[in-house]
Amino acid sequence: MAYLVLRLKNITHTQFESLRGILNLKSATYEVEVNETLAEGFKDCEELRNLLEKMLSLDSKKLPELKEMLIKQDEMCISPTLNVEESKQTQGDKQVKSIQIKTKKARGDLIRLILFAPFLLPFCFFLIWSCFLQFFSLDSINQTLEIPQSCSHIAHTKITGIA
């Protein structure tokens, strides 16, 4: 895996393989070679350099644990992949665009509210007024339906007649 990373960065690693092939090789000699090569290739990223040093180590005790090499799945989705500058720029653009869309929406809502306010207010009044009227008219209907006691027997006959 470490060799693959080195190959992708155009760093030659054949010397490591040939050193590994030497019997009774002092691990210090090998480590110096590894450290020098990695220091040149990974100047600005100490963390990755240390990881690769561990991965290339001859001593099995120094080899990194799997946990050290794996990035949590959640973090993986966020981390940049392709050209950093490009991705940063696109992320920035996306944020700006989303803010612009939001402000445009809010502005549109406000304009709509101002435009429709003259129509909405009378409509609301009309609604309230009609409710008010309906309430009283119902009450009046109830009152009209109240049949005076004197005429009850006539009404009764009429109603039954209709029925």
């Binding site: 960065k9 993986m76 392709l82």
Partner: protein, 196 residues
């Protein structure tokens, strides 16, 4: 040259109908990868087609087809939405048995990144390199634990590692290579036993 390859190779009917301008971009032990444009959306896709013309596929087509589909499942799990499920096709047409094909979102192999002209990945970015190590190790872990595959490190070459252009997930492809190496080993063992 590439077009000639496409003409010779039997492309399943549905893919032929829905995609145009197919161009061979990569080849593995068991399948070929074409780049094509959807006739409906004009979007570019990568189309994987099981290569029935290969002897290795012919010998154990069931196993190779299974690996082909399992690889797609894994990719969909790692990068949801990368497989265009509707495009998946299994057809009996053609001379060499079943055809399997599926369209995938655009991705590039790391081997193309070794060439300075086609370089689009910023490998100077340490985060990207850490992600590469992590993503590939997830796939190795999966193949080791769930598939009990060994000697996976032999296939850790830039040709077999790809990155999704959208989302940037690295993944290990060409799983059939592992199966191929075990088959050839077994063959060698049996021949040596019979010779003895």
């Amino acid at each position: 040259m590439l077009q000639q390859n496409t003409e010779k190779f039997a492309v399943p009917p549905k893919i032929k109908f829905t995609c145009e301008d197919l161009e061979l971009v990569a080849e593995t032990v068991s399948y070929k990868v074409f780049e094509g444009k959807s006739r409906y959306s004009n979007e570019k896709h990568r189309i994987r087609i099981l290569d029935n013309t290969k002897d290795f596929v012919k010998e154990d087509d069931g196993k190779v087809a299974t690996l082909f589909i399992q690889e797609l499942f894994r990719l969909q799990f790692r990068h949801p939405g990368s497989i265009l499920i509707n495009s998946f096709e299994m057809s009996d047409e053609g001379e060499n048995g079943k055809h399997l094909a599926c369209a995938i979102l655009p991705h590039i192999s790391l081997s193309s990144q070794l060439d300075q002209e086609h370089k689009i990945l910023d490998l100077e970015n340490s985060k990207l390199t850490e992600k590469l190590i992590s993503d590939v190790l997830y796939d190795i872990q999966f193949l080791w634990k769930d598939f009990h595959m060994r000697r996976i490190f032999e296939m850790l070459s830039p040709e077999n590692i790809c990155i999704m252009k959208e989302g940037g997930t690295f993944f290990l492809g060409n799983w059939a290579k592992l199966f191929e190496s075990t088959v050839t080993e077994r063959k060698q063992e049996t021949t040596s036993v019979s010779q003895a």
